[in-house]
């Protein structure tokens, strides 16, 4: 690493390096990013022609390019279902909530962690926050059911004990956005906060030192030093997250809601709908059609947001 930066600094000003010279000079850096480049080349670019499968009637024997071309027929069922709009809306709204609240919460937790002075307490709380991330969605589904079900659920047992009426969330669609977002935050925030915590650790100690000499209190330190320093990290993570905004969190939704059609109004996302519609007839083409639709929208959103960020603060944009 140090060698690379030294080399870069030594490049004589004014003289442009040829391509091969550049390659030779920066070979260490190039070598270091080679695995990543190869990864994306093989797993993201090589399969791209496979998108074609979304436009054919796929036959195993004839292969992707030998199968009969059917135009947009594979996209039809999504449109014909009349649900395309509500599914896309649900998916995007949930993801917006996950991204915005998730990041806010993660930043908040990272700052709190940073302020804890007792080392033992810090370690214990970090572990506790981390733990939910490693619980599978299947288990979470079971846990939630045991908490919330009407007959024997934990919440309802408490409610009846305290003399309140029972609550029936599994027949009540309107309460699920809040429940699902809560579960998501509980599960993900601890893990997400690590990046921010690392960013805080990376803030130049002298700046913080200087603020203390100037008499800033803890809140002022957070407001004027830590938060501004975290801004680039927040913006970049947001941009990355927005690319997947049309991709729903299938595991979370399917394991908690299952096939309870009473709750679909507020909880059905593109993934769960497509799963139900396709699980009975294994169809690569319609699945790819949906994936293609999601990628297109995701691409459009990233481009738009990046464009806006570029206008406001060029340094923070991705490209």
């Amino acid at each position: 690493m140090s060698k690379g930066s030294v080399v870069a600094a030594e490049a004589p000003a004014g003289r442009k390096l040829g391509f091969f010279e550049k390659v030779r000079k920066y070979r260490t850096l190039i070598f270091m990013c080679l695995p990543t480049c190869l990864f994306f080349f093989f797993f993201s670019y090589v399969p791209l022609p496979g998108i074609w499968v979304a436009f054919v009637k796929y036959n195993y024997q004839k292969g992707i390019f030998g199968s009969r071309f059917v135009g947009l027929q594979n996209f039809e069922f999504m449109v014909e279902s009349g649900k395309l709009w509500s599914l896309t809306r649900n998916t995007i709204l949930y993801n917006l909530a996950f991204i915005i609240l998730g990041n806010l919460f993660a930043v908040f937790m990272a700052i709190l962690l940073n302020e804890i002075r007792s080392k033992a307490f810090k370690k214990v709380s970090q572990t506790m926050m981390f733990l939910p991330y490693f619980i599978s969605h299947v288990l979470i589904g079971v846990l939630v059911f045991n908490f919330l079900n009407y007959d024997t659920g934990f919440v309802n047992t408490l409610l009846t004990k305290w003399g309140f009426e029972r609550w029936q969330p599994y027949a009540n669609a309107s309460c699920w956005p809040a429940i699902l977002i809560f579960i998501y935050l509980w599960q993900q925030s601890g893990y997400n906060s690590v990046v921010y915590f690392a960013a805080i650790m990376g803030i130049d100690g002298e700046v913080i030192e200087a603020s203390r000499v100037d008499g800033a209190n803890a809140f002022q330190k957070i407001r004027y030093i830590i938060l501004p320093s975290l801004r680039p990290t927040i913006v970049i993570l947001l941009l990355f997250a927005l690319g997947g905004i049309v991709r729903g969190n299938f595991g979370l939704f399917y394991n908690i809601i299952g096939t309870n059609s009473l709750l679909y109004e507020t909880t059905d996302i593109i993934e769960t709908f497509v799963y139900r519609a396709s699980v009975t007839d294994f169809n690569f083409s319609t699945a790819s059609a949906v994936g293609f639709y999601q990628s297109l929208i995701g691409f459009a959103i990233v481009m738009t947001v990046n464009f806006i960020v570029k206008k406001i603060e060029p340094d923070y944009s991705l490209f």
Partner: protein, 524 residues
Amino acid sequence: MKKRVLALLLAMTMLLSLAACKKDGAKKVDTKEHVKITYMFTGSKPEGAAMDRFQEMNKKLNEILTEKCNAELEFYWIGWTDYLSVYNMNIAAQDGTVDLIGTASDWLDAWPNAKNGGFKILTEDMLKTYAPETWKSVPKDHWELCKYDGDIYLMPEDNYAQWTNHGYIYRLDWAKKAGLANGVHSWEDMTKYFEYVTANKDALGINVAWDSDGTHNVQMASGWVASHSKFVPIDGICTAALWGGTKDNLYTIITPAYSDTQMMVDFAKMMKQWDEMGVWKTDVLNNTTSTNRDDYRVGLVAAEQHHTQTWTDLCSKTPSNTIYNDPNAESGFFYFGEETDNVVALSITHGAMAVSAASKNPERALMVYDLLRNDPDCYRLINYGIQGISYELDSNGYRITPASYNPDTDNVGGATSWWWGRNDNLELKDATRNWTAIESLYKVYDKIKIDYPYGQFVPNVDSIEGKVKNCNEVFGNYMKQIAYGKYSGTAEDIVAEMQAALKQAGIEDVTAELQRQFDQLYKK
């Protein structure tokens, strides 16, 4: 290539000298090279000691197979979690690792996979040469039912009596106490029975009348339709059996669950009544961890919804069915369609064997299948395991379990899922089954049944695929609410809402298209 030419030549010689080669034909096939045949099927892979037992059987079986056709059999399990997608994905892989594929036209995607090019076309020559016993035992009209576009793709399990028509398994002794001296014979009787058991829950020692996991919606709806009409649904379009003909008019397609408003309103009302009675748990639609069948065996619930074949187990005094420790306990079966004598026999491709299109040794795969299906030693090994360990015969020739038998490890037949070539000529009857009750019900069935009439109809859904999917989805969603009585508002409102949604999803277009294809096939 060379081998294939050779096989072809052989097949031709066989044809030319048909009569002469009849008996020792199979011996002349080139089996010089020892090959491994992989059999893929749905089932749970045995573990630990059960796997050891299974392997003992497999070893013995392979000895016979090696001797008779120089091949050995390898098992490839598709576990039950998401079995259909995993199964189809494995067929789609076409990497040549699989030879024999257990399949079904109704509950596994036999026809879509045949259409998509997943299965090998089985020519008559191939069958005659490599699976001669099977070829002889399956009648010509049955082979017709295994054809798509004029080619045979499946070898049907057509000589095995089983009934998989659905209904309710219930406690006959409790029904008698509920005032139903003859047991349950209609949905109204079922209501009466549930009224009694829900009211006497604690006295009967049950947790809940029926611990449904919330997935019986479509089955219940079909059952209601069968019991209130002469509707005969077409298999293999989608899970919701929406389309079909009637017993009097088989080839005119109707959709009673959509168009017969009064019938569906009555259904919604009765199910609301069941829900309010507490037949199932309040959050039944998310009750995924239920173990109702096992609970039934030990008397913790009062009913199970499944098919006749399951009832034949649950009504018998087997070691796991501890309810029969009480000598008064009895299990009855209310089959859907009982009120209207509307029972359709199973399609012969409810179980069938196919050969993977990518199989490297299709000829040998057929030979192995022929032995497993028709050779008594192979048949007993793959179906029951090793005699003396997994089963024993009593003096009447019935199958019993040896004294040392441990159901957790020795049930080899449970691990092989041989549901694609059972053969009544070689079956060993299970002595623990309650044959008096079972055979008397089978007699009733035989009197009223009609054969599945649409065996040859393989719908071409390419142009209506999206609409079929959407209808299936809409129907399933509304039936969750209707069949479990979870809808708000009146029964009339919810049925009207469902009808509007089905219309929107294109149900009428699908009906019209299917009718067109029906006319093409049947009005020749």
